[in-house]
Amino acid sequence: MTRYFEVHQRDGAARKGSLYLNKTIPTPTVIDTSSLKPEAEGDIIYPGNQWHFGNGKTATQATLGLRDRVGKDKLIIMPSCTYSPMITGEVTCEKIDVPAEEGPTGIAYSERDPETTRDLYVADGIGCHEGNPRRLLTALIDIRKNIAPDSALYAPNIALPENVAMLIYLGVDILDTTRATIAAFEDKYMTPVGFIHLDRLTELPCCCAHCSGMSAKEVKDMDKKQRARLIEKHNIATLETEVALVRQRIRSASLREYVEGRCRHDPALVAMLRLSDAEYDFLEERTALFKPAALLATTSESLTRPEVVRFARRVQQRYTPPEKDVLLLLPCSARKPYSISMTHSRFRKALGKNLKLVQEVIITSPLGIVPRELEVTYPAAHYDTTVTGYWDAEEHRWVEECLEDFLLKHPYKHIVAHVEDEYRSICENVSNKLGLDITYTSDGNVTSSTSLHKLEDTMKELCDGLSYRGDYRRDMLKAIADYQFGAGSGETLLPSDSKIKAPFPRYQAFLNKEQLITLIPENGTIALTIEGAKRIIETGNYVVNIDNFVPRGSILAPGVIDADERIRPNDEVFICGDKAFCVGRAAMSGPEMIHSNRGIAVDVRHVKKL
C-alpha cells in the first residue's frame, strides 16, 4: 500500500507531519482552496462533485483520467455527493471506484469504504457545525477515531484565525482559505481574535506585507475587486501566520496553553475546550507521558487538562505509599522538585531523623496531591501556576477530592498538616468531611521558627517508638515505577537486595552490580537497562511486539505487530520479537502503533539480539 502522509511529532491530538506529494507539504497547513481545481496544478486535486458528473461511472472515469494526466505524486480526492451532515451516513452515495494503490488519494469521511485506507480524509460538512461546539467536537472526534492515525484529516470551509488552533488541537491536519477569501469579499478584515468590518477600522492593525504602508482609508477607497483581493491576501496571511505559530507550538509541545488563551474571544470555542476535556479517553491516549515544556496552569480549565487528570488518576490507581504510621501534609513550593526549595528544606530539617518515619504528601493546585516519592515525575516537577494566594472554589473542590480519596484509601495513625491559609482550609474541610483528626503545626507562617519548632516537637512525639526499615530512595523509585508502568511494577523492578546509588535525584538501581534502572530527573521518568527490562517484561506491561527482525535505532510502525494499549508517546517500552529484545521510548501511543503504517513507533535505546 502506498502512504503519502507521515506524522513526525504529536502534542496531544495535534500532529506535525508531512504530505509527500509533488512537493513535501508540512502539516498542519492551510491550502488555497482554489488550488484544488484540476486546472490549478496544485498538489491536492479535486475533480468535482458527483452532481457535476451526473453519475458514479462518469465520475470514476474522470478521476481515473485525471490520475493518468497528473501522475502519481498528486493527491486526488474522490468526487463526493456532498450530502449535508444532517443525512450523511444515512443516505447512500455512489461509490467511486478508484484504487488507493495507484497514487495518493483522499475521500470524504462519510463516503469512505472501511476496507480501503486513504491518505487523506475530508471532514465533509464540518463547516456547518461552526458555532455549535458540541456537534463540531463530536464530529471531529468521531472522524479522528475512525480513520487511520497516519491519514491526514482535511477540514474544509471552516478555518478562521481564531479557531484553527482549536481545530488542530483536536487533530485536524489540513485547513483551507475558503472562509478567509469569502470574508474578504464581505469587507471582513481578519485578526487573530476575530474579524472587524473594514468600516469600523481607522487603521490596519496588522504588519503583513500586504497591509504595511497602507492606511485604512486607502483600502476603503479602493474599488471593490482590488479591495477584496487586498483583504483576501491579508486574511490569508493572518490565517497562515496563525497556523505557523500553531506548528511552532506543536514543535515545543505547548499547544494546550496556546489554545487556552486563544479560545477566550469566543464563548463557543471555550465551550469546545471544556467539552473536549470531558473526552478524556480520546485526549489522554494521545498525550505524551512527559513533554519538554513546562505545564502552565493559568486557567480553571487547567484543572481538567489530560496531564493533570492523568496524574491524579495514577496517584489514585497506581500509587501505593510505603507503610508508615504518620502522614505529613505540606504546601507546595514554586521551586520544583519541592524538596530542593528553601521552604521544604526547612520542613525536612525540622523533621530531622524522623523524616524517614513520615509519609509526606504535598497539597497543590492544579495537581491535587503529590506524594513526596512522585515529586520528580511529570508534571509534578514541571508545572508553573498563577499564584495570588487565593484559590477559587473549584480548585478547592478538586484538591479536596484528591486529598479525600487518598485519606480514604490509605489510613494513618496520625495526620499532621504543616500548612496555612487556603491549604489549611482544604485540610479542615476534608478532615470535617471524613471525621479524621488532623494536627496543625503552623502558627500562620509555615517557615516561622515557632511553626518549625512545633512541627519538630509534634513529630518527635508522634514518631517516638516508631521504626521504618525502608529506604526512601528505593521507595521513590518504586513509586515512580508504579506510576509509570502500573501498580506493582516497582516491586518487580526493585527487589529488596537491589542497591541504589548516585545523589538525589539522579538515582540508579543495581542488582548484583548490574544496573537495572536510572531515574532521569529532567523528565521525571525511569529508564531501564536490558537487565531491568527483563524483570518487568513478565508483567506484560508496556510491551511492543515486533516482527522477525533486529531493530536499529528506531522501529517503524509497520514493524509493530501488537502494542500495549496503555502506551503513550514518550513512554519507556519493551520490545519483544523473535530476533531481539529491546528497550526504547515510544514515539507514538500503543493504539497508534497498531493502526499506523508509517512513522517511527519507538526510538530504541538498548538492543539484545536473541
Binding site: 451526473g54 456532498t82 449535508s84 443525512i87 450523511t88 457545525h129
Partner: protein, 346 residues
C-alpha cells in the same frame, strides 16, 4: 433510511393549516406573457386532498403539501373554491388562468373527472379567459386526461405545466426526491404536443446538496435538453419553505438559497442559446434570508429586473445589472463546489 423517509419524518411533525374547504388555498392576479403580449393572469390554488407524492414524503423543497385540506373537499366545495377565486377577476378584461392544486390538476384523486369537467366548462364559458394552464405531474398526462380537457376547452388555449426541475435523473432522485424520471416527462410532452396542448416546464435552481455552480450549470444544461420539448420554461429559485427538508438543512447552516446573479446568468445565457424559447423566472421571496438573494443592497433591484425580463424576454434588461456583491458571487461560484457539503455562508 432513505431520503424519502427523512422527508416523511419532517412532514409528520408539521401541522396542516386549518382553513375552510370551500375557499381556495390562495388566489392572486399577476401578469405573464401570452404569445409575446403581456397579459393579466389569475392564479388559483385549489385546496384538494393533496399531492399523492407529497403525502408519501415527496420533494425536499416542497412546502405546498401543507396547503392541502385536512379532510378531502367535496365536489361542491371544489366548485365553490373556483367561484370564489373567479370573483377576483372582476376587474380584468382578458386573462390567463393558472390552476395549481399543490399537486396535480389531472390527478383524479385530487379533482375527480366530473368536477374537472365542471370547472373546465366554466373556464371555457368565460370569454375573457384566453388560456388555461394547469399544473400536473407527468404520470397523469395521458391521452384520456388530455382529451377530457381539450374536448371542453375548444376556444381556450390549454397548457400543462410540469415540475420537471431538472433533466438530470440523478439530481431529481437523490437531491429533489421527485419520484418520476425524465422519460416520464418526455413522454408527457409528446402526448401533449400531439393534442396541440402546449407545455411549460418548471425547473428548480439549486436543489439541496448542489453547489451554486452545480445548480447553475444544471439549469443551463436542462434548458438545452428540453428546449425542443417545451414551449415555455419557468425557473423557480429554491426558497426555504416551512416544514420542508430544505428548511431543516437551512436551519442547520446546511443550505443557502441561490444567488440572484445565478439566475441572471442562466437567463442571459440560455436565452441567447434559445432565443425563441420563452424562459421566465419569478424570484419568489427574493432578498429575504429564506429566498434567493444577493446582498442587501441589490437584491430587490435585481429581482425586479428579472421580473421585467420575464415579461419582455428582453435580455438587455439583465445585461447592465451590477453591484459590489457580484464579485463575491463570482468567488462563490469558484469555491462553493469545493466545500464538501457545507455551503458558503454569505
Amino acid at each position: 433510511m432513505n431520503l424519502n423517509d427523512r422527508i416523511l419524518e419532517i412532514r409528520q411533525r408539521q401541522r396542516i393549516k386549518k382553513a375552510p374547504n370551500n375557499e381556495p388555498a390562495a388566489v392572486w392576479t399577476g401578469r405573464d406573457l401570452l404569445q409575446g403580449e403581456v397579459t393579466d393572469t389569475l392564479t388559483l390554488i385549489f385546496k384538494t386532498s393533496g399531492c399523492w407524492w407529497g403525502i408519501k414524503g415527496g420533494c425536499t423543497m416542497c412546502g405546498f403539501v401543507y396547503d392541502r385540506a385536512s379532510t378531502p373537499p367535496s365536489p361542491e366545495e371544489l366548485v365553490q373554491q373556483y367561484e370564489k377565486a373567479l370573483e377576483r377577476s372582476s376587474g380584468l378584461q382578458e386573462f390567463i388562468v393558472k390552476i395549481f392544486t399543490s399537486g396535480s390538476f389531472l390527478d383524479e384523486k385530487e379533482i375527480d373527472a366530473t368536477v374537472r369537467k365542471q370547472i373546465l366548462n366554466k373556464l371555457e364559458a368565460d370569454k375573457r379567459i384566453k388560456k388555461v394552464i394547469v399544473e400536473t405531474r407527468p404520470e397523469f398526462v395521458t391521452k384520456d386526461t388530455l382529451t377530457s380537457c381539450t374536448e371542453v376547452l375548444k376556444n381556450t388555449g390549454f397548457e400543462i405545466a410540469i415540475g420537471l426541475e431538472t433533466s438530470n435523473d440523478v439530481i431529481r432522485k437523490r437531491s429533489i426526491n421527485k419520484g418520476f424520471t425524465y422519460a416520464s416527462f418526455s413522454r408527457a410532452t409528446h402526448l401533449a404536443h400531439k393534442k396541440d396542448v402546449t407545455v411549460k416546464a418548471y425547473l428548480l435552481l439549486k436543489p439541496p446538496f448542489l453547489s451554486e455552480t452545480d445548480g447553475l450549470e444544471d439549469i443551463i444544461a436542462t434548458i438545452d435538453d428540453i428546449a425542443d420539448l417545451t414551449d415555455t420554461v419557468s425557473i423557480n429559485l429554491c426558497n426555504v419553505q416551512r416544514g420542508t427538508f430544505v428548511e431543516r438543512l437551512w436551519e442547520r447552516n446546511q443550505y443557502r438559497p441561490p444567488w440572484l446573479w445565478s439566475i441572471v446568468r442562466i437567463l442571459t445565457e440560455s436565452k441567447k442559446n434559445h432565443p425563441d424559447l420563452v424562459i421566465t423566472s419569478d424570484p419568489v421571496g427574493a432578498g429575504s434570508k429564506r429566498g434567493p438573494h444577493n446582498c442587501r443592497e441589490c437584491s430587490h433591484m435585481v429581482a425586479d429586473a428579472i421580473r421585467d425580463y420575464s415579461l419582455t424576454q428582453d435580455i438587455t434588461i439583465l445585461e447592465n445589472l451590477n453591484c459590489d456583491c457580484k464579485e463575491e458571487w463570482e468567488t462563490v461560484l469558484e469555491l462553493d463546489g469545493l466545500t464538501f457539503g457545507c455551503p458558503i455562508k454569505s
